[in-house]
Symmetry: C2
């Protein structure tokens, strides 16, 4: 029962997490203790500008923490996912799993 009861799950996706660029960032952060801005720039392929603004949004939403310091004389920005961030990601993953159940596996579900 209830193929249709979960049919609205998809609408409850957290938009802050749902955005591909941010999802990517969170996925990387979730798998490391702490990550440098530059590293994230490399692996994500995002421009610095883009990365910076997504970072700010994630920070504003409390999903990541940003730590600014210096390495030698150069500025260094490091990101870390917060507990809330992990929770948001876990929730998102869960809903996503529910969504995938709605999507037909096969190209065409003959009716």
């Amino acid at each position: 029962m209830s193929g249709t009861s979960r049919i609205g799950e998809v609408m409850a996706l957290d938009r802050l997490v749902h955005e591909p660029a941010r999802l990517l960032i969170l996925a990387v952060l979730a798998n490391a203790r702490e990550v440098e801005f530059g590293f994230l720039e490399q692996v994500s392929g995002l421009s610095k500008g883009n990365l910076s603004s997504h970072m700010s949004k994630l920070e504003a939403g409390g999903l990541v923490e940003v730590k600014k310091s210096f390495r030698g004389k150069r500025p260094l920005t490091e990101l870390r996912i917060t507990a809330a961030g992990r929770k948001a990601l876990a929730d998102y993953r869960q809903r996503l799993a529910a969504v995938m159940q709605e999507l037909p596996e096969a190209p065409t579900p003959r009716k």
Copy 2:
């Protein structure tokens, strides 16, 4: 191998499909031969206006076909997913599956 080789998959998600409202619409369409506007409005919880505009975008993108007719004297709009729509949805599903592999199952992957 290559947990990192798929790390960019998330960026290749089709935005036309990625939008929750449209994903919902496509998911419904994929599981029926043809669906009425009104029915979609009910199950999606979207307003007519919203539904109409998403429908237009999906149509413009060639993912759905819209057939207009009359039932008795009232206009009747029916939607059907196209072959391209099924393909887009299948591709999306596949990428989504790849994405989910990046997301940690457990709340916290202790490092």
